[in-house]
Structure formats: C-alpha cells, structure tokens
C-alpha cells in the first residue's frame, strides 16, 4: 500500500465533490453536535438530581444543634434519640411507606460534597451543619401529603420535603428537550448517511475509468475501495471536529460566558468541562467510523470487484 498514492487520490476526490463534501461535513457536524448535546443534557439532569432524587419520594429532615437557634420549627432543640425512634416506628406503621432509609449528617455531608464538591459553599460547610434525615420511598408517590401532615410540626422535625416537587417540572422540560434533540439528531443522521452514500456513488462514477483499470490489472478490492472510504472518513472527521468545537463553545458561552448561566443560576450545579471533554473521543470516533462504514456498504453496491 503506497500511502502517498492513496492520499493524493483522497485529495482529488474531496476537491472534485466540493459541494457534496461540504454537505456531508455540515450534516455530520450537526448530527453529532446534537448527539453530544443530548448526552450532556442527560449528564446535566443527573448532576442536578443529586444522590437521593431517583431513590426516594419524601425526605424528613430532623433538627440539629445549630437549627435550635435559627429555625422556629426546632425551637425545642436538636432531635433526641427517643424522637427519632418514634418517627421511625410511626413511619413503618404507615401502609403507604415502602422503604425508609436513615441518612446521618456525616452521610449527608458526603453526598453534598459529591454533588457540589467544587462550589465555594461546600468548602465552608461542616457535617454538623447538615441535618440527619429519613429518606422515604412511597408505594404511591402521590401520597406525599399524608406524610407531610403526619410529621410536619412534630418535635425534632425541621421540615418535610416532597423531593420531586421542586425540580420535577424542570426535569420534564429538560427531558423533552433531550428527546427533541435526539429526534432531530436521528433525522440529521439519516440525511448525513444518505449524503455520504450519494457522494460515494458520484465519486465512484466519476472515477469508474480508473477503478475499471485497477480491477483489470488486479488491484485488490481494498486498494480500490480505500480512497473512497478514506474520503468519507476524512469528510466525517472534519464534521466531527466541527461538532466537538460546537460543544466546547456551547458550554463556554451558555454556562461560563455569554448567557453565563453559572452566575445567574448559582444554586444549580452545572456540568464541568470533564463532562464535555469525555464526550469528544466518542464523537470523533463516531464521525470517522460512521461515514467509513456507510461508504463501505455503498461501495459494495456500486463498485463490484
């Protein structure tokens, strides 16, 4: 295999179909950017959900020492062992309760660190500032109010929170966006594949004289097909680089600068650069392999050996 020969063939092929190549590059870039955006959106949702979101429905936060001074619900001081035991017994008696997990303030600190590890607030926090809590899974999540009315205002209980109430709507919206991104991605992907197949077909047709001679003098199938496949792969790679750039710039302008959501919504924990960077290898690999495979199968039809 003479690399120089193949490379020059690729260059000639890409220039000959400049408009088609451009269309392939753009459609691959858009579909893969949407693919990456969809992955990042899922990451974002997971980051925001934190440790307990998918596992429980209701949380009962218990008073700790420092709450005694600041929180009117905890005017009688920190929760006692007796109170804790009573709450647990009462919870287990309720038919709607499926499971109860106790989270100590040390565990709460650990989970908090995992979710908000790099925020300035987390570094000033100590375990005893966090409440211990009962995390409750209900048989029917709609029964949240039963728990609330039974335990809110009880001695030692700081608050009862419906875990999903706050974020549910946001997540429904993000989920919807995610599906929309995937639908558009699927469509763009189909367009990209059809463009690649067509480009390869045009390319094979315009070079049928060369390939005909190559066949006759006994060039191997791989040697005949390689320039076409590499052509598609190179165009795809350019598209993949474009998609990667869009994701990096997207995170930069939406989260850090431009829209600067991280400043405006500083309570939300946003995905970090690592989340974006770990997606790039996948996107680049897909951008090379997908067009190469499409070209390979297109050639089986249009370039008989």
């Amino acid at each position: 295999m003479r690399a120089q020969f193949v490379l020059s063939e690729i260059g000639v092929g890409l220039r000959r179909n400049l408009t088609m190549t451009f269309a392939v590059v753009v459609s691959v870039a858009l579909s893969l950017a949407l693919f990456g955006a969809s992955l990042l959106l899922s990451d974002q949702v997971n980051t925001m959900k934190g440790f307990w979101y998918d596992k429980v429905n209701v949380s009962i936060f218990l008073c700790n020492k420092s709450d005694g001074e600041t929180d009117p619900n905890c005017a009688k001081g920190a929760v006692t062992g007796e109170q804790k035991k009573q709450i647990l017994v009462d919870l287990k008696k309720m038919p709607t309760v499926d499971k109860v997990v106790h989270e100590s303030s040390d565990e709460a600190y650990k989970h908090y660190k995992e979710q908000f590890g790099d925020s300035p607030l987390a570094s000033s926090l100590t375990p005893d500032q966090l409440q211990e809590s009962y995390r409750i899974k209900l048989k029917d999540p709609e029964n949240y109010k039963v728990i609330a009315s039974a335990f809110a205002g009880r001695d030692g209980v700081q608050s009862v929170q419906d875990q999903k109430g706050i974020l549910e709507n946001l997540f429904v919206m993000l989920g919807g966006m995610n599906w929309a991104a995937r639908a558009v991605m699927a469509l763009m992907l189909v367009v990209a594949l059809m463009l690649i197949v067509n480009t390869v077909r045009v390319s094979a047709f315009s070079r049928r004289r060369e390939t005909g001679i190559m066949r006759l003098v006994g060039a191997s199938g791989f040697y005949i097909q390689a320039p076409f496949i590499m052509e598609a792969a190179v165009a795809g790679l350019i598209g993949g680089i474009g998609a990667s750039a869009m994701l990096v710039l997207g995170r930069y302008f939406i989260i850090d600068n431009g829209l600067a959501l991280s400043e405006k919504l500083n309570l939300i924990n946003f995905i970090g650069w690592d989340a974006v960077l770990t997606k790039l290898p996948l996107i680049l690999a897909t951008s090379v392999l997908m067009p190469a495979l499409a070209a390979f199968f297109a050639l089986r039809k249009y370039l008989k050996v």
Partner: protein
Amino acid sequence: MIRFDNVSKAYPKQNRPALRDVSLEVERGEFVFLVGSSGSGKSTFLRLILREERTSQGQVHVLGKDLARLSNWKVPQMRRQLGTVFQDFRLLPNKTVAENVAFAQEVIGKSRGEIRKSVPQVLDLVGLGGKEERMPGELSGGEQQRVAIARAFVNRPKLLIADEPTGNLDPQTSVGIMKLLDRINRTGTTVVMATHDQQIVDQMRKRVIELEKGRLVRDQSRGVYGYQH
C-alpha cells in the same frame, strides 16, 4: 493455460445463451484468434477468462485454476497474471504515457524503484521510447494502443487478452500493432485476440477459433478468417 469444459453462459432476460457447450484448450505460448460475428459470444468468452462473469454451466480453468472455485478476494491475484487490451485503449487522459503505465504497477503495490526500472523498459519494447511525458490526447491511435499494450504487459503477464485491439486503427497501423503482439507472444506470453480483421487473421496464419451464435464452430491451427461479413 486456458481450458473450457462444456461451458455455457446465459444472461438473465435473454432467451438465447451467449455461449453454448464450448470446450477447448489453449496451451502455454499459443497465439489464438477468436473470430465470429457480433453477438457470437466472443466478448463473453473473454469476460469468462477474466472472471468478470461466471459460467452458467461447465468449468473454466485459467492458469491451472478453476475460476468457479476461486473466491472473490483471490480474483485480483489471478488478474495480475493477465494483461488486457481493448479496442478503445482505456487510457487515463489526465496522466502522461509513463504515468499511465506506472498506474498498473502502483495500484498493485509495486515499489517505486521497480516502477522506475520497468516503465522505460516496456515503453522501449512497444516503440514509445522518448514519449514518456506525452499525454494520451497528443498521440495517434496506434501510439495510444501501444501505451495500452505497454500497460497490459508491464507486469509481465503469462496471458494477454486483446479485445479487437485493431478495431479503431487503419490497416497500416494495425500491422504495426500485430507485429508488437507477435513479439510479445515470442517472449512466451500466451495471446488470445478477438478480432473482426480478416486481413490480419489471413496474414498471420495462427490458430483460429470461430464462434457462431454461442457455439464453437471451428478450431483450426494456422487458420484463416474464413467467412465474409
């Protein structure tokens, strides 16, 4: 070198088979004319040897190999031992004479040094020494066919297939091409040539195989063209 055993070939959507029960053998070093009117099966005969087509019935052996049993990925290896020349030359118009010949070696992965050595050699052999850098468009038909022959011969094939190589050439030029093919034949290369050129066949007095409506109707050593068309 070539053996046909009861070979028939039918194309889909055609009621008459292109070849019908053809059996023959071509020995190493022979020069064979393949004659017959248009549609007699000459092209199919050649395409079967090149394994561009497969037989419907019977076996074709080329260079000792049963082409029906040759897997697809081994076909290129087989074709490297064959050279092919056509009526329409099939040169690459945007490459020089030397590049056209070198192309046949580049695409089978020959080394640069080998190409640099063998290309001028074969161009000298076909009488085109000194015209390496010309473009095909600047050459006469006869010269273009010589380039095509150089390209077919540069990998030193054991068998040269020529499909009406003089079909586009005037009689005088054709004689030159035939002399060249004869010279190549004398180096030990088997030549099978399909032709309509009565004068050439009658002059050369080589083996003549005649096909008619897909059947082998004549196989004559030192034969003549034999029928008026």
